[in-house]
Amino acid sequence: MKFQGTDTYVATRDLTLAVNAAIALQRPLLIKGEPGTGKTLLAEEVASALNMPLFQWHIKSTTKAQQGLYEYDAVSRLRDSQLGDPRVEDIEHYIVHGVLWQAFECDEPSVVLIDEIDKADIEFPNDLLRELDRMEFHCYELHRTIKAKHRPLIIITSNNEKELPDAFLRRCFFHYIKFPDKETMQRIVAVHFPVLKHELLKEALEVFFDLREVPGLKKKPSTSELIDWLKLLLAEDIPPEALRAKEAKDAIPPLHGALLKNEQDVHLFERIAFMARRKQP
């Protein structure tokens, strides 16, 4: 069982190695990287490549660790008791299974995605230490311990908004998806646009990497934005020459709204383009 990337996802050597290490040693894998470098996508692709079911748990600032295990729906039970519903006798009806419970009870090995763990409360990762380590937890309402039938592959993504506790990090493997270089980027684009004109791709990548070099941008365009932009270029049927028009008045790439998401960045870029134009004779 080895992950090698898929025909829709380009995984670099270091990434596949980290994923395979996590699979072989059955440890959680923590993924960090710039937004838009395919962190969340990785779990989906690993699941589909290895033909395993995927359980997704998207974390918000209000998410509690307990919600990933199970929740006791006291309000429904209270309502049922007041209506005299016979279901109320069995507490199991009111235990709502969380993502980890589902994955632990799954009959085949599965992939669990814990997305954007840094969004949650600072204590959140600490509350999951034992669950991720031993892959088991206790349900107090049922007096039962839920143990994983097969240890699932757990992929955790983080955007670095909070620091994760040391004890948690020590239990994970870690990979930082760095921004792809030109070669990798070409492979990524080829995966998404197999019939893209060679010229257009070359020009577009040039514009894209130039744009990333502009100093002072608040949000540098990322891979997912490049893909969106290429889609637009194709849809509008922009000729490659239009991208090359460096000396002309339109030094701003066409449809730049897909690449620059921030008003200040667009202004900054327009200003730089204006200065560059003035310098030319």
Binding site: L17, V75, E163, L169, R170, R171, F173, F174, K178
Partner: protein, 390 residues
């Protein structure tokens, strides 16, 4: 097995634990990688390093260990980056390349050490010194069959250099780089959530307890949502010696803006006196009295100064010491008043911490603040926020 390597990482201040070493051995036993050193590098990085800001340190430690150069006495690994700026790219013909004599590894490092000792300034071109675009084995952007590249992008010859030597994660090392994002992460330490405002959220525990008390009849309880409740007063030094640090301050400011609900900022020059201002362009006509500021904001605000604290000692110690106007009371008096009003305070200094000892005014202010002065780096910000939230 690998214990020496593990201890070497530990001695390079990488936070590695025994568990992780065992995991690495387990991975090797499972034949996850073949014999290649590159793969071993990737594997050990994924298993031992848990933060991208430590990647650079790991790269260096890995390089040292697998080359055995840590024994070089007096070898300073940091070469000033400006030497290496890619000034020009030298095109060599095939014949030229062949002419370049292949040097052995030890020889290269021996010479590199010597040259580092000799060389004192930036160098581009030529064939001996460390610098850019030459045929010397050191530096980058040039060509030599067995070169040691120090910094910079590879120019495409690709004859030298292991992955870890590229040190592409240098920018993520938290002792160096300071961007808006990093600052935000550091400032987040200060966040304190509290419940305030209208009661809109269902309080489940309260509802259950209330219902139980009510003899089983539903008794709904609501509570207010959580908000960030930290209040910050930011005093920024502006003009004069601070001009060099404006970029860093702007970034700090824009990051702080987004992080706190209550953030008030004021400008001052060198030291705080009886007046501060909110808009630097109109600093002379729209001054606020410092007394008013003291009386306006309650003691639950946290006080943050940003300034290089580099001035003449008279500006702090004596009445009339200000370089801009006649001040009736000394700067120290005003600083003490501010500190008495807001006991939670920190001073962020963009000057390098190592240089503080050489400026008398910095020492004076540090003393006034009770050692709560921190450098304007990620590490410094973290320390400052920790001290503020105590």
């Amino acid at each position: 097995m690998l214990v020496d390597f593990f201890l070497h990482l530990k001695s390079r201040q990488l936070p590695v634990s025994t568990n992780e070493l065992l995991a690495l051995l387990e991975a090797l036993e499972a034949r996850l990688v073949s014999g290649s050193l590159d793969d071993f590098y990737l594997l050990s990085r994924a298993l031992l390093v848990k933060d991208e800001s430590l990647y650079d340190r790991f790269d260096r430690a890995f390089g040292e260990y697998f080359r055995g150069i840590e024994a070089l006495p007096g070898f300073a690994p940091e070469v000033p980056e400006e030497w290496l700026e890619l000034a020009a790219r030298k095109h060599l013909s095939e014949a030229d390349r062949l002419k370049l004599q292949k040097l052995s590894y030890e020889k290269i490092f021996e010479q590199l050490k010597e040259r580092l000792a000799e060389q004192k300034e930036r160098h581009a071109g030529g064939s001996k010194w460390i610098g850019t675009a030459g045929t010397s084995p050191y530096g980058h952007g040039g060509y030599n069959p067995e070169g040691v590249r120090i910094g910079g992008e590879s120019v495409g010859n690709r004859t030298a250099i292991k992955v870890w030597d590229q040190r592409e994660f240098r920018n993520l090392d938290d002792t160096l780089d300071l961007g808006v994002r990093n600052i935000k992460v550091a400032l987040r330490r200060l966040r304190r959530f509290a419940r305030k405002g209208a009661a809109t959220e269902l309080d489940l525990d309260g509802t259950i307890a209330g219902t139980a008390r009510n003899g089983g009849w539903l008794d709904l309880h609501l509570r207010p949502e959580r908000h960030n409740a930290v209040k910050v007063l930011l005093f920024l030094d502006i003009g004069g010696s601070m001009d060099d640090h404006i970029q860093a301050c702007e970034e700090l400011f824009s990051a702080a803006r987004a992080e706190f609900k209550h953030l008030e900022h004021f400008y001052f020059h060198n030291c705080v006196y009886e007046g501060v201002w909110k808009d630097n362009r109109r600093r002379h006509d729209e001054k606020l009295s410092t007394w008013d500021v003291i009386h306006t904001y309650g003691p639950d605000y946290k006080l943050v100064f940003v300034g290089d604290a580099s001035m003449s000692p008279y500006e702090i110690a004596r009445p009339g010491g200000s370089v801009e106007h006649w001040n009736e009371e000394a700067g120290a008096v005003w600083l003490e008043r501010l500190l008495a009003t807001w006991p939670h305070a920190a001073w962020l200094n963009p000057q390098q911490e190592a240089h503080w000892g050489y400026t008398q005014s910095i020492q004076m202010i540090e003393q006034l603040l009770g050692k709560r002065m921190f450098p304007l780096t990620i590490d410094g910000l973290e320390r400052a926020m920790r001290s503020l939230s105590k």
